[in-house]
């Protein structure tokens, strides 16, 4: 049988901690940008201006049809080269973090846009009519009447998506960025203790995500009553 030796984890805690910071940085950036850009995309998709709605639908459908691994590679291998070709700027020495941030933010926006669109559509139509009847323009109607109610309805879904996103950030492994899992893999590879480090990483993800999903469930119960 295999003999476990978890001792290399203790010494590697600073590296793993730094990795977790990278993971959290990507997750939080993608959540913030994703919700802002996702809201704009959702409103564009629901707008009466046809070309705008088509553009937003095209964006959302394209990103949702392509694997996240491919999107990360696009923004690491292709887009920087394209930008430096077009703008004539030299690609920086280490663009992995920026690539990852941009890739996740743009990718998650597509998923958030769909959640937000459903949330906006769940607001009764009378609310919009009432706001217009009071003389509010579109922007005020959305900002003060529709979006606050929509966000309240979709909060559990947004948080669940955030948990999925937190797990998905481990895929920055494909561009060699040392997020939490990347750091764990490197340490395991270095010390010949891959089994322990992979299991440890899995356990940490499980505890964090399971805890977060329990909180979301609590929240959902409170909102339902």
């Amino acid at each position: 049988m295999y003999e476990f030796d978890f001792s290399s984890i203790l010494g590697a805690l600073p590296i793993l901690g730094h990795g977790m910071l990278v993971t959290l940085e990507i997750t939080l950036t993608a959540i913030v940008v994703g919700i802002v850009w996702g809201t704009l995309l959702a409103l564009a998709r629901l707008s009466a201006i046809r070309p705008l709605a088509w553009l937003a639908a095209g964006y959302v459908n394209l990103f949702r049809a392509v694997p996240l691994v491919m999107v990360i590679l696009w923004f690491y291998l292709i887009v920087p080269a394209l930008l430096s070709d077009v703008l004539g700027v030299a690609a920086g020495s280490d663009i992995r973090m920026v690539s990852a941030l941009v890739a996740f933010a743009l990718f998650e926006s597509a998923y958030y846009a769909e959640i937000i669109r459903a949330g906006v559509q769940s607001v009764p139509k009378g609310q919009v009519n009432a706001a217009y009847a009071l003389g509010m323009p579109y922007s005020l109607t959305m900002r003060l009447v529709v979006l606050p109610q929509a966000f309240r309805n979709m909060l559990p879904l947004l948080l669940t998506q955030a948990i999925i996103l937190f797990q998905d950030t481990s895929l920055v492994y494909v561009i060699g960025l040392a997020d939490f899992f990347g750091a764990a893999y490197k340490v395991g590879d270095r010390d010949g203790r891959l089994v322990e480090l992979v299991l440890f990483a899995g356990a940490v993800y499980f505890v964090l995500c399971f805890g977060a999903s329990l909180l979301v469930r609590q929240l959902q119960k409170r909102f339902a009553t």
Binding site: P67, W74, L77, V195, A201
Partner: protein, 245 residues
């Protein structure tokens, strides 16, 4: 722009000389399809079984299925894949582990990815099946049992046919996800579609063409699956329901 486009690159022979680069991409496509469809079979049957266990009147079976779902839903796919590929062969009794390590690497990668994707998606299918069974009118189970069907027969002939039809739309999106998630298998070296795109960049330096071609292939898979599932939904409609004829 200094980039020189060259779409003919796909027709030029690879260094090994036995195929064209297009051949490489098609080979990658083949692995992606084989992996995803194989994993879907596992996910569908295991997920349906787990979903049924979640709803049977036995607390322990339902807890077991719930634990499975939580375990597979709260650990990233990549970590699960590395567990299947690097960890499990080490934890098996030594002769088994050695036997696995002596097989051809492609077989090891494929099996690890297949089991990983299948078990991962089964947890998601389980939740959909449970939701589907839960949304059926309560009387259906009672009617099945009152007719003298056993509990397994009630599930097989009454509850599941209704529930699976109800959850076709969410199952479609899980089915689409399995194709996208199969790209994760590139991290353990399986030469599926997204891995081939990286190989093409390494060998030909025609990065744009390679990535555009592979992205288009994923979009095509997506469209094909959606059309197929729409047809299936149409075929399995129950006359008399709102969605029916």
């Amino acid at each position: 722009m200094s980039y020189s486009w060259n779409w003919a690159v796909f027709l030029s022979p690879t260094p090994s000389g036995d195929a064209t680069y297009l051949g490489w991409l098609l080979q990658g496509l083949q692995w992606t399809l084989l992996l995803s469809l194989g994993a879907w079979v596992i996910a569908f049957f295991l997920g349906t079984l787990l979903g049924v266990l979640r709803t049977v009147p036995n607390r322990w079976l339902s807890r077991l299925a719930a634990a499975y779902v939580e375990a597979f839903r709260n650990v990233p796919l990549l970590v699960q894949l590395f567990t299947w590929y690097f960890v499990i062969p080490e934890l098996l009794p030594r002769p088994w582990g050695d036997a696995i390590k002596q097989t051809d690497p492609l077989t090891q990668q494929f099996l690890a990815a297949l089991l990983c994707l299948g078990c991962f998606t089964a947890a998601r299918v389980c939740e959909q099946v449970r939701a589907g069974l839960g949304s059926l009118p309560r009387g259906q189970r009672a009617a099945g049992l009152a007719l003298g069907l056993t509990l397994p027969q009630t599930y097989r002939y009454v509850l599941l046919p209704g529930a699976l039809r109800l959850i076709l739309p969410p199952l479609t999106s899980e089915f689409l996800n399995i194709f996208k998630n199969s790209a994760v298998a590139s991290t353990i070296g399986l030469i599926e579609l997204s891995r081939q795109s990286q190989q093409l960049v390494d060998y030909t330096a025609q990065a744009y063409e390679a990535f555009i071609a592979v992205t288009l292939m994923y979009v095509l898979i997506n469209v094909a699956v959606m059309l197929g599932m729409r047809w299936l939904e149409h075929r399995t409609r129950i006359p008399g329901t709102i969605g029916g004829k």
